[in-house]
């Protein structure tokens, strides 16, 4: 297929998938422009692959709104490093995808521009916050998409949608141009229809960036060679991630996948990550704390929605801009974050959470030091849930990320792989690797991917 035909085909697929509400910005003209650009230059390693981009990563040709009224119509005057690299490697920016406002949520219901529907059942959520990107890949619109993770926002929707979702080591991909939520946790991450697609895109966007002081001082990650089997590997099964109340379908899927892991030649051992149960509360102190500062810039002074007339002073401008511009979940997290950093509360909340974060990370280090190569856990405690089911109870919503938060706090690479279905809904299994071992994780995932039929019912 020519690049122009590929662009037109992608446009047709985007149009056909409009009912998902997974996309915030796209146009045929833009796709034609991307195709023409790719035709004009040497075809990079991605060979024109259409890639959808979460709408919290800044692009020059399409707006970047973070699914927030406060950035409605905002077009960035500069391009994210990851986008520059993606395009230079022959990626076609296909569309900007819907998300929970400022990436705050686990269901993509907290978008100012309407919720995203699950491709298999519109009454269900696709997970979040990168639900638009996950749904588009699952619906076969694009082979890969960029999302972002702060506490599982790619792995969790990947599990719900039945696609591959890879969160790299913190610092593997530049955050320059990723609109900040929780800076010490934020990672541009990748959805793929297959492990290979995800790995190729991750390789293209990875590498040190002088404009992000937290990037890993390493050249771009090579595309890992897939393993034929898992011989010689020891895979740890952390007991805290297999609680008694785990959804039976998820448990059955894990049982089958663990059996397959052994069939492929790996040894499995039970291990313990005793502080992982504290990951969600720790995360919900640290991420909002950072967010409360990161979102302070949306003050209506330099950009944002048109200024209402007749404001008496700058305080009124702030109140009008932020009061109307931010949705309830964002406001909730800014308030939590402001509270935990306040004089007199800092030590009790932020300080304590920082110490807990160190313990959570230390658990992983200790386990990996005993000769464990990878960890394997369920990605989510349940398959996709119904829209509206958890919106009234933020804590229930937060607990959807119970198995993904610890990896984010530890800065480790982790990924969700579709391992089967329960009641027709996808189930994800999570692989976790030591810091920097993104490549070996993806190589092992490729072997497991070949050994499992992700559409097979497990019970």
């Amino acid at each position: 297929m020519s690049l122009r035909a590929l662009g037109a085909d992608t446009a047709a697929r985007l149009r056909a998938a409009e009912s998902l509400n997974a996309v915030l910005h796209w146009s045929e003209a833009h796709l034609e422009h991307e195709a023409a650009r790719l035709e004009a230059g040497p075809l990079g390693p991605l060979g024109g692959m259409p890639v959808a981009v979460k709408d919290n990563i800044v692009t020059l040709d399409l707006p970047t709104t973070c699914a927030s009224r406060i950035l409605e119509g905002y077009v960035s005057p500069y391009e994210a490093t990851a986008i520059r690299r993606l395009r230079a490697a022959g990626g076609m920016v296909a569309a900007k995808t819907n998300l929970d406002e400022f990436a705050m949520g686990s269901s993509t219901e907290h978008s100012a521009f309407g919720r995203v529907h699950h491709p298999l059942d519109p009454a269900l959520v696709p997970g979040g916050s990168s639900g638009g990107s996950g749904a588009l890949v699952a619906a076969g619109v694009v082979p890969a998409a960029l999302g972002s993770e702060t506490g599982g926002s790619v792995r969790q929707p990947a599990a719900f949608c039945g696609v591959v979702g890879v969160k790299p080591s913190y610092g593997r991909v530049s955050r320059f141009g990723l609109v900040a939520f929780g800076s010490s946790l934020d990672c541009i991450s990748v959805f793929g229809r297959t492990v290979s697609d995800a790995a190729r895109v991750l390789s293209a966007i990875s590498g040190e960036d002088p404009r992000d002081a937290t990037t890993l001082a390493e050249p771009p990650m090579p595309v890992p060679e897939p393993r034929a089997d898992l011989k010689g590997l020891t895979i740890g099964l952390p007991k805290e991630y297999f609680p008694p109340d785990l959804d039976p379908g998820v448990r059955a899927g894990m049982d089958r996948a663990i059996a397959r892991i052994r069939d492929l030649g790996a040894r499995t051992v039970e291990v313990s990550l005793p502080h992982s149960p504290y990951a969600v509360p720790t995360y919900y102190i640290l991420a909002p704390a950072e967010a409360s500062a990161n979102l302070a810039r949306y003050d209506g002074v330099r950009y944002g929605p048109p200024r209402p007339a007749g404001l008496p002073d700058v305080r009124a401008l702030y109140q009008a801009t932020r009061g109307h511009g931010f949705g309830p979940e964002v406001r909730r997290r800014i308030l939590i974050g402001t509270y935990v950093l306040s004089a007199g509360y800092y030590e009790a909340y932020y300080g304590k959470a920082q110490r807990m974060r160190a313990r959570i990370a230390d658990d992983f280090s200790q386990v990996f030091a005993t000769g464990i190569d990878l960890l394997f856990t369920p990605t989510t405690p349940t398959p996709a849930f119904r829209a509206g089911e958890k919106t009234e109870d933020p804590v229930q919503m937060y607990l959807a990320d119970i198995f993904v938060c610890a990896v984010s706090l530890a800065g480790l690479p982790g990924m969700s792989l579709p391992i089967g279905r329960s009641g027709g809904l996808p189930i994800g299994g999570q692989l976790i690797a030591p810091y920097g071992a993104d490549g070996p994780m993806l190589a092992a995932a490729a072997a497991l991917e070949r050994g499992l039929d992700p559409t097979e019912e497990v019970r």
Binding site: V58, S76, Y78, F176
Partner: protein, 473 residues
């Protein structure tokens, strides 16, 4: 009742880097508004700070010049507050882990002489933009050229005991920072800003009184005036049985008075926390050592050396060390053969006047050295030398040649001197008669007349014997 004043100062110094603290924008002064800006210093969504190595080096040199301990690990923190000229809604600063602590600075107190003032800490931070309230009626304009410019904040211990000492501290601080190459410290450009913390207590009391903060002061003279005004206000309040409350006072240069800031403008909870965009700043000891090596001789050491090496009085040494350029020029002049004390006199008068007028050095040091030597060996009178200096300054040239061209070389030839002496004796018969009658002090008058007639060319040492011989004949 006598009172003791206790003052500590917080000084913000703009580091003299080419670019801003966390982006590549030029750190230039006086450009058109909002021209030196980029996504990073505008705080656009997704932009991230990348630390400027030059700013860290200059901050480190400033800290070392102030005898601080530079810490191997320091941490950038976010200071959160809303203000229209603060693009990110927080300022990147350092809080509980500053770059350097525990320094000291020697100052010349007007009341207590030479003394050491403790430096509590020096930390790095970025500047905010500028809010301009008088450009558009009823509106505030924001210029973000200054946003992100690197600053060092230097906090002193409460070791100062008078407004005059505060001023002396600032003078010494500025001198050390300029020597260290940290920045130009120009108050006019806002490159040095001062906030003062001041309290008073009864003499003999060891506990500190309640302090207030004095802000908005734009010159060293005004910081002294502002502190005097605030000190007097506190003393009057206490003597009237009142109590000092912790407030921020704004100085009004026109009235010379301070007034309390509205309470709405203060009482921030800045919610400091480590900036997750910036890893801890790690400075290996070897790197710190190279910064120490890069420091030039600092004012204290230079003053001591000028005194011992050239036998100069302390006053001369301090004046010359006031500007590195003048001290260097002085030493070059001596190296060109000039007498050290004579050279100091020239540099502190003619040269410094020219330097203050134009900001540049008037004649090459070698020329001044040669000129001073011509005076010393009697070739030129001091008066003639000043003419030569002015001519070399305006038109260039080599001093001896210029002196010859202007006919200023002193004449010692006896027959030439006799001609002038005879003419003067002939022209002043009354004075000559009175001299001969015993009024010997008239010699001075007659020598003056001879110098005048010779247009300063006659060698005064040669004139006297010829004149006396003629008067006694």
């Amino acid at each position: 009742m006598t009172w003791e004043t206790v003052i500590g100062l917080e000084v913000h110094v703009q580091l003299g880097t080419r670019t801003k603290m966390f982006c590549g924008c030029a750190a230039l002064y006086g450009e058109d508004p909002n021209t030196n800006v980029c996504p990073v210093c505008l705080g656009l969504p997704g932009a991230l700070p990348a630390p400027n190595a030059e700013a860290i080096a200059l901050g480190t040199r400033a800290a070392l010049a102030l005898n601080c301990t530079v810490h191997p690990v320091s941490i950038f923190a976010r200071k959160n507050y809303f203000y229209p000229d603060l693009p990110k809604g927080y300022q990147i600063s350092q809080f509980d882990r500053p770059l350097a602590t525990g320094g000291r600075l020697v100052i010349e107190s007007p009341e207590r002489g030479t003394l050491e003032v403790g430096i509590t800490r020096l930390h790095l931070e970025e500047d905010a933009g500028k809010s301009i309230h008088d450009r558009f009626p009823g509106l505030t304009a924001v210029d973000l050229n200054r946003a992100g410019v690197p600053l060092a904040e230097i906090v002193s211990e409460p070791d100062l005991r008078s407004p005059g000492e505060a001023r002396a501290y600032l003078t010494a601080l500025k001198q050390v920072l300029v020597y260290a190459g940290a920045g130009d410290c120009s108050m006019e450009k806002g490159h040095l800003r001062v906030d003062g913390n001041i309290s008073v207590r009864r003499r003999g009391e060891t506990r500190l009184g309640t302090k207030t903060e004095v802000k908005n002061v734009n010159s060293f003279a005004n910081i002294e005036r502002a502190l005097i005004s605030e000190r007097d206000r506190q003393i009057a309040l206490l003597e009237a049985g009142g109590r000092v409350t912790q407030v921020t006072m704004l100085f009004n240069a026109a009235s010379g008075q301070v007034r309390p800031m509205r309470s709405k403008e203060e009482s921030h909870d800045y919610r400091y926390f480590p900036d997750p965009d910036l890893p801890p700043l790690v400075l290996p000891p070897e790197w710190v050592e190279t910064q120490r090596q890069a420091l030039p001789e600092l004012p204290g050491a230079k003053i001591a050396r000028l005194e011992s090496q050239y036998g100069l009085p302390g006053y001369d040494a301090r004046v010359l060390a006031g500007e590195v350029a003048l001290a260097d020029y002085y030493e070059a002049t001596v190296a060109a053969g000039a007498d050290p004390k004579a050279a100091a006199n020239w540099v502190m008068t003619e040269v410094m006047t020219a330097w203050n007028e134009t900001g540049s050095l008037p004649v090459p040091a070698a020329s001044l050295g040669a000129l001073i030597t011509l005076v010393k060996d009697g070739t030129l009178s001091l008066q003639a030398a000043k003419k030569v200096f002015a001519e070399v300054r305006s038109s260039g040239g080599e001093p001896r040649g210029v002196a010859e061209r202007l006919g200023l070389i002193q004449v010692r030839d006896e027959s030439a001197l006799e001609e002038w002496v005879d003419a003067v004796v002939a022209a002043h018969p009354d004075e000559v008669a009175r001299y001969r009658a015993g009024e010997t002090k008239l010699v001075g008058f007659l020598v003056g007349q001879i110098m005048k007639r010779s247009q300063g060319k006659a060698d005064p040492k040669g004139v006297q014997p010829v004149l006396l011989r003629r008067l006694q004949s």
